[in-house]
């Protein structure tokens, strides 16, 4: 049986002999311009259905989330934080505080029909959305005190715009794959995780198993769909559609080892340039999912982008779960035995 936890190379672990190098994505959000070419290219190449355009009020994000019908999702977050060393655009203009936190709080309840289940659930906690849009330094302060309402904040601050193209993480330990009862989800020779659409019977187990909320069910056909890391393209030595379309190389495709080195250098450069909020996410083979095949450079905490801060593959605890179930099963049998045989009827 495959190992359930810890660092490893997934393709050999899945039984491939002499597999090619593990391939993945490094998505550098510091150079994303939010053009959504990745979303479009992915839909075009993979024949992913579109849906009606609804304005969600989530900055320029009208996709909302990764779903069975959106395998790339560009997140947009507006924060009253100067971007890099730019000259503040509104310096000296007393126009009041930024609208970002209130606008984010207002956008919490919007939704749109993605044609999928559960698709884009409306949010909760407008406070948490306001905190997202208030910037990293705001963490831990009461939501009632927005920066603009504090003394000495009469000038509009500059705004930074976080943009991040989210995608399936192609985990080293992929819970969706572990729990799939039909074998529809499988590990490719490139170490990626792909759904076979002719096998999936729509049992839905992969959907709550994913710690990132990636995989989702298409209403029209009942099956689960997600990013394949363009299995058909990379098998022919091509670049996945999203990375091919990305105009700024925010999405980089390649052997995971190389990408990890490149990412580490990029973080060093950003830190040296004064962008101290830069950090990698999903790059560490020691993390709860054994490292992601698709990892990210972020400029704020993961939850601001809708990512879990410390995901752990659920099957790490599966041996313990079976043990507990075994004890409960024995207790059940013992109770029946005692009830019938323990004393005369």
């Amino acid at each position: 049986m495959n190992r359930l936890y810890g660092p490893l190379d997934p393709a050999p672990d899945a039984g491939y002999q002499d597999p090619p190098a593990r391939m993945g994505f490094f998505t550098d959000t510091s150079i994303c311009i939010g053009c959504k070419a990745c979303e479009v290219a992915c839909k075009e190449w993979n024949g992913v259905p579109g849906h009606e355009l609804t304005m969600l009020g989530m900055s320029f994000d009208n996709t909302g989330a990764l779903t069975a019908n959106s395998w790339r999702h560009v997140a947009f977050v507006e924060q009253p934080v100067p971007a890099g060393r730019q000259t503040p655009a509104f310096a000296g203009t007393p126009t009041g505080p930024t609208i970002a936190p209130a606008a984010a709080a207002d956008a919490v309840t919007t939704t749109t029909d993605t044609g999928t289940e559960p698709g884009l659930d409306p949010g909760r906690h407008p406070d948490s959305a306001a905190r997202m849009a208030a910037g990293p330094e705001f963490l831990g302060m009461p939501a009632s005190e927005l920066p603009g309402r504090q003394p000495g904040r009469e000038e509009r601050t500059d705004l930074r715009w976080l943009m991040m193209s989210d995608v399936c993480k192609h985990c080293t330990h992929a819970a969706c794959l572990d729990v799939c009862p039909t074998g529809a989800l499988f590990r490719t020779e490139f170490g990626t995780v792909v759904v076979q659409e002719d096998i999936c019977n729509g049992c839905g187990y992969c959907i709550p198993a994913c710690p990132y909320g990636v995989i989702d069910q298409r209403k029209t056909d009942g099956r689960a769909w997600k990013c394949t890391l363009c299995y058909d393209r990379i098998g022919d030595g091509m670049t996945p559609a999203c990375a091919q379309a990305c105009p700024t190389q925010s999405i980089q495709f390649g052997p995971l080892d190389e990408l990890r080195e490149r990412a580490a250098r990029r973080v060093e450069r950003l830190h040296a340039a004064g962008e101290t909020t830069a950090r990698l996410y999903g790059h560490d083979p020691e993390d709860g999912v054994g490292g992601d095949g698709a990892f990210f450079l972020l400029l704020d905490e993961p939850e601001v982008y809708g990512l879990p801060p410390d995901p752990v593959v659920t099957t790490r605890d599966l041996p313990d779960m079976w043990k507990r179930a075994g004890v409960a099963a024995l207790a059940m049998a013992a109770a029946v035995a005692v009830a019938f045989l323990g004393r005369p009827a």
Partner: protein, 360 residues
């Protein structure tokens, strides 16, 4: 450095300076935010985060995808548990010579298994592909293991139930042969079903615990006991409903044992897991589980105190059956609620990160 301090401005540094003045006729954000807070104060908005549990989220959206399973699945958890418990009682009744209780529980097991099969196939996104479950056997997938457990249990439970028609068959001819063979086959199949039954009743707890759903996953040590206890109590309920008082002694004892197992484990699930216990006490899940607890206590008490009254026994049995259904729906709803709320994903994970970085 705090947000907004870096914009090079210095004019507004005097204390008491207040932003958010009306400018250009627009409603300033401060006013909008105060309105929002006033709405919330009136109780028609969402509750504020508790102190110490403030967190950030992407527009308040859930991080996880909530389970897409419909009511079929909690209904199956109930009918599967009922079938399992009933098969165990049927084997006990068979072994100790309680024919009426054996008949009732065997038939209940078959009926519940039939309902389970319907629920499981009906819930699939592609019901006509249900047999794809039989392509592989996969220990890392509790659903795959469950498929094979049910493939063993279902036919055994079915044969045991079919054996109950033996007395109605003619004494001669081919059917006469069946009349003599069926009780033996029924007993054998009944024991096989009873042997597999504890797995049927408990694997479903592993199935939901083996997800990223916070309130299910964290409950994994207790859930098998909730489901096992509830399965025993509901099957005892069927026996109390359908069998004469002369035979139901073991059923009333089992009702108490099952109820106790369920109540103790449920109490831990609902209270001992910190923040992720919350969804089990709130909203629909909270109402379902409170009703389940009340019916379980009443049913177990009635099973013992009313063991000389046919009516009280039957009512207690009905209460236990209803309680088991409510328990499954309550546990299901609690998990779904925890997946839909980013708080239950972010707060515990953030805490874990801070503890581990603090330790380094």
């Amino acid at each position: 450095m705090s947000a907004g301090e870096t914009d090079g401005g210095h004019a507004g540094r005097e204390p008491g300076g207040h932003a958010g003045q009306e400018s250009g006729g627009r409603l300033p954000v401060g006013v909008r935010f105060r309105e929002y807070q006033a709405r919330r104060g009136r109780g028609d908005g969402p509750p504020a985060d508790e102190p110490g549990r403030e967190f950030r989220s992407y527009y308040g959206r859930p991080i996880l995808k909530a389970p897409v399973w419909k009511r079929d699945i909690p209904a199956y958890f109930f009918t599967g548990g009922l079938a399992a418990g009933s098969s165990m009682l049927a084997a006990g009744a068979d072994l100790t010579g309680r024919p009426a209780m054996r008949r009732a529980t065997r038939l209940a097991s078959l009926a519940a298994m039939g309902a389970s099969t319907y629920f499981l196939i009906h819930d699939l996104g592609r019901p006509n592909r249900f047999h794809h479950m039989l392509r592989i056997a996969k220990p890392t997938s509790p659903m795959s293991m469950g498929t094979w457990i049910l493939a063993l249990f279902g036919p055994a439970s079915g044969i045991a139930a079919v054996a109950e028609v033996a007395p109605a068959l003619p004494r001669r001819g081919v059917l006469g042969l069946a009349r003599r063979a069926l009780p033996v086959a029924g007993t054998t199949a009944g024991y096989l079903a009873a042997a597999v039954a504890p797995a049927v009743a408990t694997y479903t707890a592993v199935l939901i615990a083996d997800t990223a759903v916070p309130s299910w996953h964290e409950a994994y040590p207790q859930l098998p006991f909730v489901f096992a206890g509830s399965a025993l109590a509901s099957a005892s309920g069927v026996a109390l409903l359908a069998a004469p008082l002369a035979e139901t002694g073991p059923a009333s004892r089992l009702a108490v044992a099952g109820a106790a197992m369920e109540l103790v484990a449920s109490h831990r699930v609902e209270n001992a897991m910190g923040i992720v216990s919350e969804p089990y006490r709130q909203g629909r899940a909270g109402r379902l589980l409170r009703a389940a607890r009340g019916l379980t206590v009443a049913g177990a008490a009635g099973a013992v105190l009313g063991r000389r009254s046919r009516l009280v026994s039957a009512l207690s049995g009905a209460a236990l059956v209803a309680a088991a259904a409510l328990t499954r729906f309550g546990v299901f709803e609690g998990g779904v609620a925890s997946a839909k709320d980013p708080k239950y994903t972010v707060v515990p994970q953030r805490q874990r990160v801070e503890e581990s970085t603090g330790a380094r």
